[in-house]
């Protein structure tokens, strides 16, 4: 139920006073309400739940957490995700 999926904002538009976006989830594009995420723009990854964007994915935090996990066992061959694609 509380499933939320990260997707990339590819367009921002207005719908009768509501800030909306088109968000690409690995090839599937859906509309999402961006009204409560004024800082989110085209190219940002946002976490969307039932058509509503809840938060912007922080690429620096994502990289930091992941690097920390990878370093648990010095797995050098693993790719550490960097900033936005």
């Amino acid at each position: 139920m509380c499933l939320a999926i990260p997707g990339k904002v590819i367009e921002v538009f207005e719908d009768r006073g509501l800030r909306m976006g088109r968000v690409d989830f690995g090839g599937t594009v859906k509309k999402a309400c961006l009204e409560q995420l004024p800082e989110a723009g085209v190219g940002d990854y946002v976490l969307v739940h039932v058509g509503f964007a809840l938060s912007v994915v922080d690429p620096a935090e994502a990289a930091r957490t992941y690097r920390f996990l990878v370093e648990l066992g010095q797995l050098d061959e693993l790719h550490v995700p960097e900033g936005p694609a």
């Binding site: 139920m1 509380c2 690995g26 930091r64």
Partner: protein, 367 residues
Amino acid sequence: MKYLDEYRDGRVAAKILSEIERVTTRPWTLMEVCGGQTHSIVKHGLDRMLPAPIELVHGPGCPVCVTPLEQIDKAHAIAARPDVTFTSFGDMLRVPGSHTDLLRLKSQGADVRIVYAPLDAVRLAQEHPEREVVFFAIGFETTAPANALAVTRAAALGVKNFSMLVSQVLVPPAIAAVLQSPGNRVQGFLGPGHVCTVVGYREYEALAAHYRVPIVITGFEPIDLLDGVLRTVRLLEAGTVQVQNQYSRVVTRAGNAAAQRLVWSAFEVGDRKWRGIGTIPKSGLRLRYELREFDAERRFEVGAMETLEPAACISGQILRGLKKPHDCPAFGSACTPERPLGATMVSAEGACAAYFAYGRHRLEATR
């Protein structure tokens, strides 16, 4: 997909598992709060990969499961009306009430429709002014902003033929109910990551301090969940009571302030009944007085309902982490996802349905 695939990497999972093994010196019982986490854990078999002293028990965080039978029966009474178009998230359609379910009502001619977003129900109301469009607003804090947006939007645009049947619940009172249960075994929590994107985790700091339990706000992918377990075990082993944020790529301590303002513009806190558990004080949201004309219970005058709940069901104990699905004699025989007897079998995110779906029918197949 970016921010998903890398959190499913088996090599990283193996490293975290060996680190969990290394730091664990004695048995610990952890609860993952959210049904989405339960589903992911059972689907990937994460609980079986953990070293034997670490036990995961499954929490009450499945809003479909805990929606009380009265609200389900009210939904069915409203949906059966010829003037009503009843809209809902897909997961509610199979949930049995005392007498029927939404899918069966639809097959009998009721106008029942699945919507992806609550705003879609408002648009449907605008497109069909001759119909009464009702939206079944269920969910935890994660879903509350989207539901709040729908009703405040309908009010702002003057969409008079839209209303909501509200069954919104809150996580912290449910965690408190688990910890206050006689016989509680839970020593640490994997906190609900997506709930916390909205509300942040300050309230969880108060819970952790009050009940002396560590809570790690955790994501939903296998790597996130294993990382959440590792962090919780480390805190338990060190005797540290603290809230940690494993899901920092999307969760901040303060949460999304604009989304919180939106929620409080539509809802206020009230007592709620939880299916399988009973009434928990101040554990839910109801529409604010100013929005009462959008309250479907008021508009359609559905009063108190006589409900019929099967007596064999132990879902209340499962939702509080006291028992597991295979402790129930009805599990997998009298009770299946096709014919569920109670809360934890009605949704894919319920512990019983997840165990059933991933082939854990026998005790020896689980831990």
